[in-house]
């Protein structure tokens, strides 16, 4: 490699230890990869605790992070997601890259006071994100 470096100093700079890390960076998964993040709120913060009696706290969670280029089975992403990624990178940068969004939810039971003073217990679908995906 020393001889090659002497012969072709330009190429050598691309493979110097410093640039090696730059070179490999394109294959490493993004640091802030798409994943589920905790978020907890209490209805008293929204001043809704006068009519939402229970639960006192609610953790809807949320998804945030970059989607890696090679999605594959890791996120259960359809092939379309990789196609969209290629379009965005190679054909038209105005097409957005895939987004990190919830893929599964769990329900929430709520006890509230209705405007007429009656009380209702209700179970709502899809109120807590439990899994993320790239789409």
């Amino acid at each position: 490699s020393r001889q090659r470096r002497n012969e072709n100093p330009k190429a050598a700079s691309a493979t110097s230890p410093y640039n090696l890390s730059e070179y490999f960076k394109q294959f490493v998964f993004p640091q802030n990869e798409c994943e589920l993040h905790n978020f907890r709120l209490s209805f008293s913060q929204l001043k809704w605790d006068k009519w939402i009696i229970a639960p006192h706290r609610y953790s809807p969670q949320y998804c945030q992070g970059d989607c890696p280029r090679a999605m594959g089975h890791r996120y259960g992403s359809p092939v379309h997601t990789m196609v969209q990624n290629l379009i965005s990178e190679q054909l038209d940068p105005s097409v957005p890259r895939p987004s990190c969004v919830p893929a599964e939810y769990s329900p929430l039971s709520v006890l509230t006071i209705e405007p007429d003073g009656s009380i209702v217990y209700k179970e709502y679908e899809d109120m807590i994100a439990t899994k993320c995906t790239c789409r």
Partner: protein, 300 residues
């Protein structure tokens, strides 16, 4: 939200349901086309809050009648039985309800007369307004909820034999009741002073709810005799039970999109959310379930 109007439109339930006028106040940009609002009862109020830049508590402007404290205590106990502390529905045993509505009578007229044979007869005319029940909420069970505060000493175990007769009553024209329904039940007071008694009136109420009746008038006659289960079988004189007018409890199955149909999951073999959440435990195979929890550890 749709209101149940003459066109038969259904009122979509929603714990953030806004009074009808809120939906009309929404910024036209935020207002969804009529068709799209079905099953999205949560949207109008949420959009209104978001369109006011920050979760200003618009609800504090909406006057809400305060519920009866006893009713509130009962519903909090029902919530604890039906959901975890985080609010995740438990897989119900028995009844497959995803909605329970409690109505306190909006008017009542009491009468009390002594019958030589039956003893004290408490009769009360009750009017329940069940306008909040939507056409998508199907009645599974309905009960009259009595809370008994007795001054009777709680040392001895006492048995009450009560007779209840209910008649659907039309206050306006005082016609004779079209449906009458009587049932006897026994109450057994053990240690606790307060006793909730649920008296099943499903067969009485089913036709009224199915006919979209908004106001339900009931004439309820209640006679209670007291006997001591151990000693005498003959019932002594009627006891002086303080009878608080009952609440009307409806166990419903809400078939709208945003309601949770847990029993569907059970039927399809998927776990109920309470157990499903344990699936997220660290023992789960990290590679297979991407997108859950912190990926640093998994990737490493």
């Amino acid at each position: 939200p749709h209101s149940r109007g003459p066109g038969g439109l259904e009122k979509a339930p929603g714990f953030l349901e806004a009074p009808e006028d809120v939906a009309s106040e929404l910024n036209p940009v935020l207002r969804l086309p009529k068709g799209a609002r079905r099953g999205y009862a949560l949207l109008p109020p949420l959009l209104k809050v978001l369109s006011e830049r920050g979760a200003r508590s618009w609800h504090s402007e909406v006057p809400r009648l305060q519920p009866d404290s006893r009713a509130l205590r009962f519903m909090k106990r029902l919530y604890k039985m039906s959901a975890t502390r985080e609010g995740i529905p438990k897989a119900h045993k028995g009844l497959l309800y995803n909605t329970v509505r409690l109505f306190t009578p909006c008017s009542e007229r009491r009468h009390r007369h002594r019958d030589l044979v039956k003893g004290d007869i408490h009769s009360v005319d009750l009017l329940f307004n069940v306008d909040r029940v939507t056409a998508l909420e199907h009645l599974l069970k309905s009960v009259l909820l009595y809370s008994f505060d007795t001054s009777v000493p709680t040392s001895s175990s006492i048995t009450f034999i009560c007779h209840l007769s209910i008649k659907e009553h039309d206050f306006s024209s005082q016609v004779c009741p079209s449906i009458s329904h009587s049932l006897a039940f026994s109450l057994h007071f053990g240690v606790r002073k307060r006793k909730w008694v649920e008296i099943d009136v499903t067969s009485f109420l089913q036709p009224l709810i199915a006919a979209n009746r908004r106001n339900i008038h009931m004439a309820v006659n209640f006679t209670c005799l007291m006997g001591d289960a151990q000693r005498s079988t003959k019932l002594e004189n009627p006891v002086n039970v303080t009878l608080v007018p009952p609440s009307l409890l409806l166990y419903l199955n809400d078939t709208s999109e945003q309601a949770y149909h847990g029993w569907n999951l059970l039927r399809n073999g998927r776990k109920s959310p309470v157990r499903a959440r344990q699936r997220n435990s660290p023992l789960v195979d990290p590679a297979g379930d991407k997108g859950k929890g912190n990926s640093q550890g998994k990737r490493a």
